[in-house]
């Protein structure tokens, strides 16, 4: 699969970036919720052609992390888990909320998508996991968020 850059109105998007051993995604958005949504869309773009994925089923997800970095790794890990065990491919998240709870974070999302169907969904790159390598989620200079996450393939 060749993953293409994707920019959405509202100043959020993702692009694949070069990395010798594996693949990496640079993601940017005006807020944390947008950042996590783009990360999910970026992940799916490695697994298959996201244009071919329709929103036919819905799941409620709830993820926790001791910091934002762990929350992002756990969020992508959840989507990989759903893909491998239920063949669920995400088309979009229509509701995504991140809440600070003491020093930890909670993410709640409603995700839409469908089952992987090899006849309609081209197979892409198998992703083993999202890694912590160099992972820092920080607000950029303009207050927007940006992060690069390395995916182990």
């Amino acid at each position: 699969m060749t993953v293409e850059e994707r920019r959405e109105p509202g100043g959020e998007g993702f692009e694949p970036v070069d990395h010798t051993a594996d693949v990496a995604l640079r993601i940017w958005a005006a807020d944390l919720e947008g950042l996590f949504r783009q990360a999910a869309l970026g992940l799916v773009s490695f697994l298959t052609d996201p244009e071919q994925v329709s929103a036919v089923e819905r799941h409620e997800l709830r993820i926790e992390g001791i910091d934002l970095e762990e929350l992002l790794v756990a969020w992508l890990g959840e989507l990989l888990y759903r893909f491998e065990t239920e063949q669920f491919l995400l088309a979009d998240c229509r509701r995504l909320r991140i809440e600070r709870q003491g020093t930890a974070y909670l993410l709640e999302a409603t995700v839409h998508g469908e089952r992987f169907d090899p006849r309609r969904h081209p197979g892409g790159t198998e992703i083993k996991a999202a890694t912590y390598h160099g992972l820092r989620i920080l607000p950029g200079e303009t207050g927007a968020y940006e992060v690069t996450v390395v995916l182990d393939t």
Binding site: G77, E84, T131, H133
Partner: protein, 482 residues
Amino acid sequence: MDKGETIPLKKVTDYLYEIPREDPMRVPGRIYCSAAMLDQVRGEGGLAQVRNVAHLPGIVGYSLAMPDIHWGYGFPIGGVAATDPAAGGVVSPGGVGYDINCGVRALTTALEADEVRGKLERMVQAMFRHIPTGVGSAGAIAKVSSKELDRVMRQGARWAVGQGYGQAGDLEHTEEGGCLEGADPSVVSERARERGRAQLGTLGSGNHFGEIDVVEEIFHEDAAAEFGLHANQIVVQIHTGSRGFGHQVCDDYLKVMARAVRRYHLDLPDRQLACAPVESEEGRRYLGAMACAANYAWANRQTIMALAERALLEALGASPRELGLRLLYDVCHNIAKLEDHDVDGEQRRLCVHRKGATRAYPPRNVKNPWRVGQPVLVPGDMGSESFICVGQEASLAATFGSSCHGAGRVMSRRAATRRFRGRDLIGEMRRQGVLVMAKDRGTVAEEMSEAYKNVGDVVEVMHQAGLSLKVARLRPLAVIKG
């Protein structure tokens, strides 16, 4: 990020370089490579990771890297590090990697190159049909129950043999007999189980493959004879690991270790090095879960071997005797093991991490049934040659009995995809004499040979350094990929 261009390197021999110890490193770093490889090694981050690993509590001797060193997570790929549990030594999931017990098995056959001419297409198509490959591949064998999965975790390759995949004799030709001690299914998460249940007997994607090769050159007659190898012989290689099961175990325990680092006040230069003392609750749990994943991987490769045999029998219309498929050896190259090693004249039980490195035991070792030393399998990248080597005495003192594991990437997947855009790669490979069957053409571009170091250069460094000697060179004829 300091990628390593400025890290001081001292030449020890023509094939060994040292990063001198500076506080707070606990030991020096040592990298096996040739002068010609040095610029490339400096260029891409592996050296900084060798230095980072030298900070691990309880590390003994050196933070080591083999010549196929390239950038990894926390540990470099090609990294070897031993820690002493009795001295607060740690175990780090980052020193094993996500694909726990990723490894290779090589199978010899009674077939000669001449006998398969004109039949390769059928052979590789049958392998592609029998062995599921690619993203989310599943369904090679019936999804196992959770209870059955417990047995896979405890028994490893022996479980697969019990199910009729291969023979009991195969276990003697598998590192650790295909079963690592200390597996504890009670510390494996429900998620890892769920990911593992449907994926036994599947290859996956990325750099994993199944391959039909021909032995093109013999370098070491004595070892070749003992391994049952001769020129023009057809050999089969399988390269895969513990699939989603192992990935989930690693993911789960990185989380556990992140908390352990806080709890034990460990000061680490990279979060991906998260670890815990071997002699701690967290350390013991990780090793128990890791052994389960290692055993899953051995069951997986044992199953795939039997699927490959079925495929070849069907394609050739041959009897098992005519095909003569036998397991030469199975090695793991992503693992942490408790092993006894000599440290300053004293036997100590160490936790040896090999991340993209292969055990290379010499003849006399108790864990090695071979008269000539343990077979070291070094697969090349897609379409290029592979090597079978043999472990040497020198590896014990120098690298805790370790050698290289493969070629090591030099080009990112994206760069490879750009470089090869618009080219008929499968056609090109066919003209070079390699049939490729892949689920996704993108994988073929990412895995093109030019994206890797020359595996011949890598094994040559190990050969010259005397850690493992070259026995045979294999040329690929047909490959199945994800």
